[in-house]
């Protein structure tokens, strides 16, 4: 075997992606390498750019909700939520208590779905295929719950400006509570497979380290920032909906490496299950939508029997509704971090400007900082631990 000094290496630039299976979609990384060491990692994005913000300017407010599903398609409810909250803020309306609890449940279910995919795909990328299969088994249950809730599995379009589309049915409640009970035991399974697994530890411990100061300075949010020790969760620090009435913890990491990001996500799923249980306990009776016929579409069966409802339905669908002039920014803690919608209204039925503050987009800025000095194989773990979803990064 050649001595270390004898090996001659030269700098090369490796193009990883956009069709690489472990770049979670269409991430194109330009890696400057010396041997196997990364000198610089430069993400090249935009392969999925669809101009969502431009589309939004040309649609009625309520027509844009389905487009938000296609941002972070792994956790569509969170996107719906951030958008409808922003429009409701502009309108100055507050939804019913029941709708708030339903929204919390929906958002937490989608957090679980998002994190399950993150951990499953991450383990798959690092060679532990079993975990993906288990994670998808549970994710399937979440998707079934969504189907029960609104008839769709991935692109849900469930939240509506002024409330939610359908009320919660007793069967959904029963199944959802069953799932919330079951999930922690399943998380234990993943932990048995991964947390003390030597390969998993070798690949993730002390890989892609980022300090808290660096995270804040780079506008990193969500589980990635919390794994670095930034104790900041929008659900706790600026409570929206009913998060201030629910008891849950914010897991925070210490080392800011890939392993901490994994642990934080596992713990967040446990907390989500806890939140769902409490939300069902506290949920009052009531309507799923507020009573505002010029904004909220009437229920389907009313349209067939009630003339007024038919008129309102026709009016909203064909003309939309006017939103007061002004601007508002609403943000939620999505599975990836701070997801915000900044909407400028000029008083008409269509938004003048919609800006999506996508957490994956901002978080991806950390790639170079985390990869620099590491090995090529670490890049895979780092990208997985950042969990970018390209519907959201590229908008």
């Amino acid at each position: 075997m050649a001595e270390k000094e004898d090996i001659i290496t030269k700098e090369i630039t490796l193009s990883m992606g956009p069709q690489h299976p472990s770049t979670h979609g269409v991430l194109h990384l330009l890696l400057d390498m010396k041997g196997e060491t990364i000198l610089k990692a430069d993400p090249d994005i935009g392969y999925l750019h669809r101009g969502t913000e431009k589309i939004a300017e040309n649609l009625f407010y309520h027509q844009f909700v389905p487009y938000t599903d296609r941002l972070d398609y792994m956790a569509a409810m969170s996107n719906n939520l951030a958008y409808v909250l922003a429009v409701e803020k502009l309108l100055g309306i507050e939804v019913t208590e029941r709708a708030k609890y339903i929204r919390v449940i929906a958002a937490e279910l989608s957090r679980i779905a998002g994190h399950l995919l993150c951990i499953g795909a991450w383990a798959l990328d690092l060679g532990a295929m079993t975990v993906l299969l288990y994670a998808f088994r549970e994710r399937e249950m979440v998707l079934d719950l969504f189907e029960m809730l609104c008839g769709a599995r991935m692109t849900l379009n469930y939240l509506r400006i002024g409330g939610v589309r359908y009320d919660v049915q007793p069967l959904f409640k029963e199944k959802c509570l069953e799932f919330a009970e079951l999930l922690p035991t399943r998380i234990k399974d993943y932990e048995q497979l991964l947390t003390d697994n030597r390969i998993w530890l070798k690949r993730n411990k002390d890989v892609g380290v980022m300090t808290a100061e660096e995270a804040i300075n780079l506008s990193i949010s969500g589980p990635v920032a919390r794994a670095s020790g930034v104790k900041w969760d929008i659900r706790k620090d600026e409570p929206y909906l009913v998060y201030d009435r629910i008891n849950f913890d914010i897991p925070v990491g210490e080392n800011g490496d890939c392993f901490d990001r994994y642990i934080v996500r596992l713990e967040e799923m446990r907390q989500s299950a806890k939140i769902i249980k409490q939300a069902f306990e506290q949920m009052p009776d009531g309507k799923p939508c507020i009573d505002m016929p010029d904004v909220v579409l009437p229920p389907r069966k009313d349209i067939e029997t009630n003339m007024e409802a038919l008129i309102h339905h026709f009016k909203i669908i064909s003309h939309g509704f006017k939103v007061p002039k002004g601007e508002a920014y609403a943000c939620v803690e999505s599975p990836k971090g701070e997801l915000g919608f900044y909407i400028v209204s000029d008083g008409s039925e269509r938004p003048f400007r919609v800006k999506i503050r996508a957490p994956s987009f901002a978080n991806l800025q950390a790639t170079n900082l985390m990869c620099k000095g590491g090995y090529l194989a670490d890049v895979i773990a780092i990208v997985s631990s950042l969990d970018p979803v390209f519907g959201e990064v590229d908008k």
């Binding site: 994005i45 935009g46 750019h49 101009g51 913000e53 431009k54 589309i55 040309n58 803020k89 502009l90 100055g92 804040i216 300075n217 780079l218 506008s219 990193i220 949010s221 930034v230 900041w232 620090d237 600026e238 002004g326 601007e327 508002a328 920014y329 943000c331 701070e338 915000g340 900044y342 400028v344 003048f352 400007r353 800006k355 503050r357 987009f361 901002a362 991806l364 800025q365 590229d394 908008k395």
Partner: protein, 167 residues
């Protein structure tokens, strides 16, 4: 949390910068200051360092096009303070072809957000370390989110449904 005119977000900043704050709007519990472009860097450093304000997190940099108004563009900075838990919006109005100082020296996270504003609106950020397009191909012509850019794009060999370019 309700924000009034006597909040530190309004009072402290107006006291310190006075004339350079052109307008302050409080709408739906959010404070936005329209400021002069010249003091952008100064005010951002102050907001970040001041112990009562501590805006250590730059949430986003947004470009907006108010065509055909003059000045045409607006750059909006969304700031958040993790220790103090408050938000603030700063706005700068600029003409077409006018550059804004980059805030990347204060918050590194502004890097991609400013590149996006450049890509979509053609707003130049002075002092940005690497200002190039982020979503569109590097040789793309035009800036898609401008109000005078057609929704379907311009007609070319790849886009038969686009609009004809006005010469």
């Amino acid at each position: 949390m309700a924000v009034g005119p006597d909040s530190i977000l309004v009072k402290n900043i107006r006291e310190k910068f006075g004339q350079a704050i052109l307008d302050t709007v409080i709408f739906r519990d959010a404070v936005s200051h329209l400021i002069k472009k010249d003091i952008l860097i100064e005010i951002c450093s102050f907001l970040k360092e001041d112990p009562a304000l501590q805006f250590n997190f730059l949430s986003d940099v947004v470009g907006s096009d108010y065509y055909p108004q003059n000045p045409r563009f607006e750059v909006v900075y969304h700031l958040y303070s993790i220790p103090q838990r408050h938000r603030l919006r700063l706005k700068v109005k600029i003409e077409e072809e006018e550059a804004v100082p980059s805030v990347t020296s204060i918050w590194k996270g502004a890097d991609w957000a400013e590149r996006e504003a450049y890509d979509m609106f053609g707003i130049e950020f002075e002092g940005h370390p690497d200002l190039r397009r982020i979503y569109m191909p590097q040789d793309w012509e035009g800036f898609p989110l401008r109000k005078d850019y057609p929704l379907k794009g311009y007609k070319d060999r790849y886009n038969p449904y686009g609009e004809e370019k006005k010469s």
